[in-house]
């Protein structure tokens, strides 16, 4: 380690203050700080600091994503081989998925981090770690067969328009990963929906039933999967969102480390359950409903990207509500709206993406009203205080 340190110090020399390549220092620093937590000491204010930093926070989220990602790779292979009726081993399935998904991740990281580095140099700040998570999330929520160039363009759009246009990490209004997916969804709809895209290489074969459960329901057909299949995630869908079980495992890590807000996660599931229960109760009110409204509420919670979106994207602290009360409201509405969009708009079989993006836009408004209630309390106190003085006089 000592040797690497010395090499690094030597490499960094021409990037020092006042040296020739000073402008490019953020790029070198990003690599250096990845290997070593720097020797910076406190100068002003508190002399000691907490052990956590943004790198550690972001890596924790990446760790939480890993189980779902590996399952996603296996499931891509599993769906492929079972739909084709071929015999396969666990490793073959995993290998098939990995061959599809690892290049997507590589493209996403290469393109996204490239832009991040360029902006860091251009703006003269250090590279923020946020993209470590975003860059992994983007391939995880795409269909497995999406061409790599589409991934690349979606990433460019998400990072440039979704993030850097607003001032970079910490300033964006929309979740960048979902911005990428929304872009791909509206720009290349044939690659992002339908019954051909969810199973690897399904489009090459005729008569394959690669429809997602939500798609099946929207088409008014019967679902062929059991509840436990849905929960474990052996169903077609975007790369890594299918397994509610492993998403919940990730959620456990996020909540346990306090990196993700348990308030948002819990209230979003409550919101989704309530909306689904309302739809479920329609028949008892004399309204017939359809396959989607009558789909049992607990199954609504385990299908589609709902759980994945709630756990990994609704909890993105930058685009979520920032106040404690606001988080409850924000989460609840995401769940509520996600199920509502599912049921009412068959053109968008999965509602979680649009629900989160919509609430991202409204999060500042929610915060505003939460804060305003505290401001009002404070102003009222001033009034009573001055009132007392007046009566005293």
């Amino acid at each position: 380690m000592e040797w690497i340190r010395q090499r690094l110090d030597k490499i960094k020399e021409p990037f020092g203050k006042g040296k020739k390549y000073e402008k490019y220092a953020p790029a070198v620093n990003a690599i250096d700080t990845f290997l070593f937590t720097p020797n910076h000491t406190t100068q002003k204010g508190s002399h000691i600091r907490d052990g956590v930093d943004l790198k550690r926070t972001m890596i924790t989220v990446v760790l939480a994503l890993i189980p779902a990602l590996i399952f996603g790779m296996w499931n891509a292979g599993y769906q492929h081989f079972t739909q084709l009726g071929e015999v396969f081993t666990f490793w073959e399935a995993l290998g098939h998925g990995a061959l599809k998904i690892v290049p997507m991740i590589a493209v996403s990281y290469a393109v996204g981090l490239g832009i991040e580095f360029a902006f860091a140099i251009f703006r003269g700040h250090e590279v923020n770690e946020g993209y470590l998570v975003t860059g992994l999330l983007i391939p995880m929520i795409m269909p497995v067969d999406i061409p790599l160039w589409m991934v690349a363009i979606s990433v460019v759009f998400a990072v440039l328009v979704g993030k850097e246009a607003f001032g970079g990490t910490g300033m964006n209004i929309l979740n960048p990963a979902l911005t990428a997916r929304a872009f791909a969804f509206f720009a290349y709809p044939t690659y992002m929906s339908g019954n051909q895209v969810w199973v690897s290489e399904a489009s090459n074969v005729d008569a394959i039933s690669g429809e997602t459960i939500l798609g099946t329901l929207a088409a008014g057909e019967n679902v062929q999967y059991g509840v436990m299949d849905m929960f474990y995630g052996v169903i077609p869908g975007s790369v890594a969102e299918t397994s509610t079980l492993l998403v919940l495992a990730g959620a456990l890590l996020l909540v346990f480390t306090k990196v993700g807000s348990w308030r948002i996660i819990l209230s979003a599931f409550i919101g989704a359950a309530i909306m689904a229960l309302i739809f479920n109760s329609l028949p008892s009110l004399g309204i017939e409903g359809n396959g989607l409204t009558n789909f049992p509420w607990y199954q609504h919670l385990v299908i589609g990207g709902l759980a994945f979106g709630i756990v990994f994207m609704a909890t993105d602290p930058v685009s979520a509500a920032q106040t404690t009360k606001g988080k409850w409201i924000y989460g609840f509405l995401i769940g509520f709206l996600a199920v509502m969009i599912r049921v009412f708009n068959p053109a968008y079989p999965e509602g979680i993406m649009l629900a989160i993006l919509l609430m991202n836009v409204f999060a500042p408004v929610i915060d505003h009203y939460v804060i305003q209630s505290s401001v009002k309390r404070r102003k009222k106190r001033v009034k009573t205080a001055t009132g007392q003085v007046e009566t005293a006089v």
Partner: protein, 449 residues
């Protein structure tokens, strides 16, 4: 009558190097210093020149814009040097002690039976006015104001903070007289907050409203107590005084002498065990007399690790500080320091290290930043350690933006930099938050006043 204040949110850091509860006479410093930068916003105007002979209590400078506030010599001796910094700003006024202990005689006074104006005059003339701080803004008080209340905190919750009960044990008589004098400065009440240890010593003090405070740091911060007892509204002023300084004021009225005794605890993991004690010293003492020459691998902090000031060899204890803390400098690299669940010996309030599994472990923190400055991303961590009805992140952003109306709405009048020390400590983005709040307060002073 006493009221209980229970603080729930916060964080009590347990650090290595607590001072042993043994009071020893501090070796007398050859030189003492008053440092004008300790008094935020005060522009010093010198009244004596280098070489002047001084008694303890003789005026050395006053505040240019509030000229009733005088700053006096803590010891008798000769004014040795006026150290200036950039733009000829006065950084230190150094006084060479003559060890005679000759005091300027202000005359004894029974505060309880004297009119308010004379008491006030005496306090500010003698230099005791410098002990009184004003909220909002956390600056030296203006004697022309009449505060709605005076707050004194005798609650120690900060890491390695000296125990108020132990410091005040033998000073109750002076403390009571000090309270009698301070009562004349306000139409309102004097609020005294105590913890278990100081309650035993101060429970019989008369003329105060006693508050029993419990809970994690920052429960001991006077700002948090004000917020819970009688929050500051726009346009209002409250004053705060450190508990030991109340005894200095009392001593002034009892003896007629300005004798600013200051108990200084030497703490921190790098302070050798045999010097980690409480020292009976005088304000502005030279640090080397207390801790000797300190190696450059050690950070010398006047005050506690969260709010103190960085010192180097040969400098002097800060005016408001009653601790000298020595901790290791952290200018070392750490390989893969960002890996979660590694380096568990570094405390973290988040649960990304296992340190939270050992709530009773004592930590030995260094001055390493443990990361680099980043944009504000993580939410919710600040609220966990700030027990106030204030939205810390929003207030910090308002301060950065210099948005006065927003700062006002979000409660800038109720906060001081020290209340945000823990917020700064836990902050994932490693921002200098106390500095941000200080700049925000300064902006309010110039814009609102």
């Amino acid at each position: 009558m006493s009221k209980d204040i229970r603080i729930k949110r916060g964080l009590s850091l347990r650090l290595e190097g607590e001072a042993e509860k043994e009071l020893v006479e501090a070796p007398r410093s050859k030189t003492y210093a008053i440092k004008p930068p300790d008094f935020h916003t005060v522009v010093p105007k010198m009244v004596v020149k280098e070489g002047a002979k001084l008694l303890a209590g003789d005026e050395i400078f006053f505040s240019k814009y509030t000229d009733e506030v005088r700053f006096t010599s803590p010891v008798s001796g000769t004014l040795k040097e006026i150290k200036r910094g950039e733009k000829r700003r006065i950084m230190e006024v150094v006084i060479e002690a003559d060890f005679q202990d000759s005091f300027k005689d202000f005359g004894k006074m029974n505060a309880a039976n004297t009119d308010a104006e004379s008491v006030k005059q005496r306090i500010f003339d003698s230099g005791c006015g410098a002990f009184i701080k004003q909220r909002p803004y956390d600056i030296v008080a203006d004697p022309k104001d009449s505060p709605k209340a005076i707050f004194i905190s005798a609650v120690s919750t900060a890491p390695l903070q000296p125990d108020w009960g132990f410091i005040l044990k033998n000073k109750t008589k002076e403390f009571q007289e000090g309270i009698n004098a301070l009562q004349k400065l306000t139409e309102g009440k004097i609020h005294l907050s105590v913890d278990k240890s100081s309650e035993a010593v101060l429970k019989d003090v008369k003329g105060v409203e006693l508050h029993r405070v419990s809970g994690p740091h920052p429960a001991g911060n006077v700002g948090i107590q004000i917020h819970k007892i009688n929050p500051i509204n726009q346009g209002e002023r409250v004053w705060t005084v450190d508990a030991e300084d109340v005894a200095v004021v009392g001593n002034l009225f009892l003896t007629g002498q300005y004798n600013p005794k200051r108990t200084i605890a030497v703490t921190g993991s790098e302070a050798p065990g045999k010097i980690r004690k409480y020292y009976d010293a005088i304000l502005g003492a030279n640090i080397n007399e207390l801790v000797g020459q300190v190696d450059s691998s050690v950070r010398i902090i006047s005050g506690n690790v969260l709010t103190g000031t960085k010192l180097s060899n040969g400098q002097y204890v800060g005016f408001f500080d009653n601790a000298l803390t020595l901790i290791p400098e952290g200018n070392q690299y750490r390989a893969f320091g960002w890996l979660p669940f590694t380096y568990n010996k570094i405390h973290s309030n988040s649960r990304t290290s296992f340190s939270w599994l050992f709530p009773n472990r004592k930590y030995k923190p260094t001055t390493n930043l443990n990361g680099e400055e980043r944009a504000l991303v993580v939410t919710g961590e600040m609220e966990e350690v700030l027990p106030m009805d204030v939205f810390p992140m929003q207030l910090i952003k308002a301060c950065m933006a210099g948005d006065i109306e927003k700062m006002e709405n979000l409660g800038i009048y109720e906060v001081a930099p020290e209340d945000f020390a823990l917020v700064e400590y836990v902050n994932t983005s490693k921002l200098e938050i106390q500095d941000v709040i200080r700049l925000g307060l300064d902006l309010m002073i110039t814009e609102v006043g």
